[in-house]
Amino acid sequence: MNAFKLIFFALFLLLLIAFIQFKKDIFVLFEEGTGNFTTQISTGDFPKTLTDVTGITYTLTQPPKRIISATLATDHILSALVSQERIVGVSRYVDYPSLSNIVDFYAPSIRRTKTEIESILSLQPDLVFVASYSDPEAVRYLLRSDIAVVRLSEFKSFTDIINNIRLIADITDSKVKGQQVIDELENRIEFIKAQVKPYKKPRVLYYDLNGFSVGGNSLMNEAINISGGINVAENILPDGEHKISEELAISLQPDIIVMSQWIFNDNQQQQSPVDILKNKVAWANVPAIKNNKVYAVPGTWLRTVSQFRIKGVEAIAAMLHPEIKPYPRADQANQHNSSHEVIDVQ
């Protein structure tokens, strides 16, 4: 009798599994995307079709008017493209000084949301921006809820950032503004590249006091390369951000060390990471420390995956090559010039 129950249980289980496998399209959301799963958007004018990597499609008959941006990156990008009236929600980190470059940019009436399905639905959006690192549960619900969703998944280089800006500009019907942002970004990158070209490339180490550095194929690596430096950890560490042993970091003997500046102790007169590193006895014989070439760049410029990232690159370039000129700007009076904003803690 018991054997029969067991067999019944096993058969039923097999049946269910077979059903799920056969009717996979129903359960398509069980599988999270891997690789590039950025949402595809049809070319041409509205109505536009959005195709998610899971195969789900949405049609936007007109440019979206109730946009929710659930990631910090899209908060930043949208800030340059779309008027605030069209945005109903932004990510809750947007006002955190340690993470955001646009603190208090969005009106307080715009909801700060977690990537949490109930609060998103309650805002009745017609378009939601999420990213590969958003809470997958909420994304799954969203994909099922018939609200148009744009998923972004590539954040590894300026090319990725530019593609993302283009995609967002396209779907929000702000192509002209988008192109302006992209042009300026490309111009500023080219400007730096051209300026640093004649100079000898210094050996640069990015170091975080928690013991992290960056290998190849990462934004930070790209930033060092654009700024006319060599990332000493490039072929030593695997791609992306990785832990580096103190010993290894010292043995790389960098000429310049770039760190990320803490925001939280700016106004508390506490030690900056640069001071802490300089006071470490073990680092005393590193050329960068000996020659006093340890710099901190505001973490918000280094972490952002939006157009604001160029500020970080300009800052690093100015540290690596103090001789170069800052990017000339038409509206210098209104905007801070990035290369003067470098935090030099020497």
């Binding site: 832990k243 042993s245 102790n265 006895v281 973490g299």
Partner: protein, 345 residues
């Protein structure tokens, strides 16, 4: 198990030799390859004060200011974790008792996380150990208060309240982490601190842990007989003249200080406190005269070899040290348990 005292001393001698070899190896081996001769020259300069022109400055700083403190911290932290495990197991007559089960480790972690959260960790290197000690002490006194009635402590209540307070500590740590998320830099610092490990440890850390562990160990030597007696049960111990209440209190204070110190320096490395004393007890028998020095050496050996293992086989990987100690310790522990079970049956 070895019954002959000569054999036991021989085993402790072997442990000592292993200990010295490992500490030598740990200084020679690291993520960066530095030739053997260079290391010897650097060490001889540091110890004998002779001057050599051949020394490259940055290699010297790696050996003297990175590797040496790292090795010393592995030694002291491992030793203190193993000793605390030994004491709690004997005191509570329970092979499962360990600083982590009694909530002491999580209390120390909570204290340290509070120090980071408040920014105190940036003011002085001593703030994390101090907060860790306070956290461990408060936790232990609460657990002990709850479980002790009329000077008698019920082991089951003690362990259960330890587990409960431990859960509370972990919850409080998570809460702080969640609160700190509005400041990304602090959150990162807390996350990496809780992962533990030996990276970035300096001579400051050595001087924090050194006095506590050394004085703790010397104090514990005085308790080797009372610990034997407590192992037989508190009625036996009291009958032969051990002031059980006072002894327990003193032992708890010493082990809290040691756990606080080691947690504040290496973070949560849990398995050593449970496994090392147990293995040594299986080998050497229950007498603390042998177990105390053996645990000191054994704990140091365990943590140093785990660190060495990581640096040799997983160069530049991000595997936390605690994972290695658990992965190596657990199977060995189970093997011994099964073997022992067969003998008994």
């Amino acid at each position: 198990m070895f019954n002959n005292p000569t054999h036991k001393i021989l085993i402790i001698g072997l442990l000592a030799i292993l200990f010295i070899t490992l500490s030598g190896l740990a200084v020679l081996q690291g993520p960066v390859d530095i030739p053997f001769n260079t290391i010897l020259t650097i060490l001889s300069e540091a110890i004998l004060g002779t001057h050599h022109d051949t020394i490259i400055a940055w290699q010297q700083s790696i050996i003297i200011d990175v590797r040496l403190p790292r090795v010393l911290i592995a030694m002291f932290a491992g030793a203190s974790l193993a000793l605390c495990g030994l004491i709690t197991q004997s005191m509570f007559r329970n092979p499962l008792a360990s600083p982590s089960i009694l909530g002491v480790s999580s209390g120390a972690s909570l204290g340290a996380v509070i120090a980071i959260y408040c920014g105190a960790s940036l003011l002085s290197a001593w703030s994390i150990p101090l907060f860790a000690f306070i956290g461990a002490g408060i936790t232990l006194s609460i657990v002990y208060r709850i479980a002790t009635n009329q000077g008698q402590s019920n082991i089951a209540t003690l362990l259960l309240s330890g587990v409960a307070i431990s859960a509370l500590n972990v919850a409080a740590t998570s809460l702080l982490l969640a609160l700190s998320l509005n400041n990304w830099d602090v959150a990162r610092m807390i996350i990496y601190w809780t992962m533990g490990g030996l990276d970035g440890r300096t001579w400051d850390h050595v001087f924090i842990i050194l006095p506590i562990i050394c004085s703790g160990f010397i104090c514990l030597l005085f308790y080797s007989k009372p610990l034997d007696l407590l192992l037989l049960g508190e009625q036996h111990a009291l009958s032969v003249g051990v002031d059980v209440k006072k002894t327990r209190r003193n032992l708890l204070i010493i082990s809290t200080a040691m756990v606080g110190a080691s947690v504040s320096v290496v973070g949560g490395i849990g398995f050593i406190g449970l496994v090392v004393p147990h293995i040594l007890r299986l080998i050497l028998g229950p007498s603390h005269r042998y177990l105390l020095p053996a645990s000191l050496l054994g704990g140091a050996i365990a943590l140093m070899s785990a660190d060495l293992f990581t640096s040799v086989f997983f160069k530049n990987s991000e595997i936390p040290l605690g994972v290695i100690t658990a992965a190596l310790g657990a199977p060995f522990f189970l093997f011994l348990l099964i073997k022992q079970r067969v003998v008994i049956n």
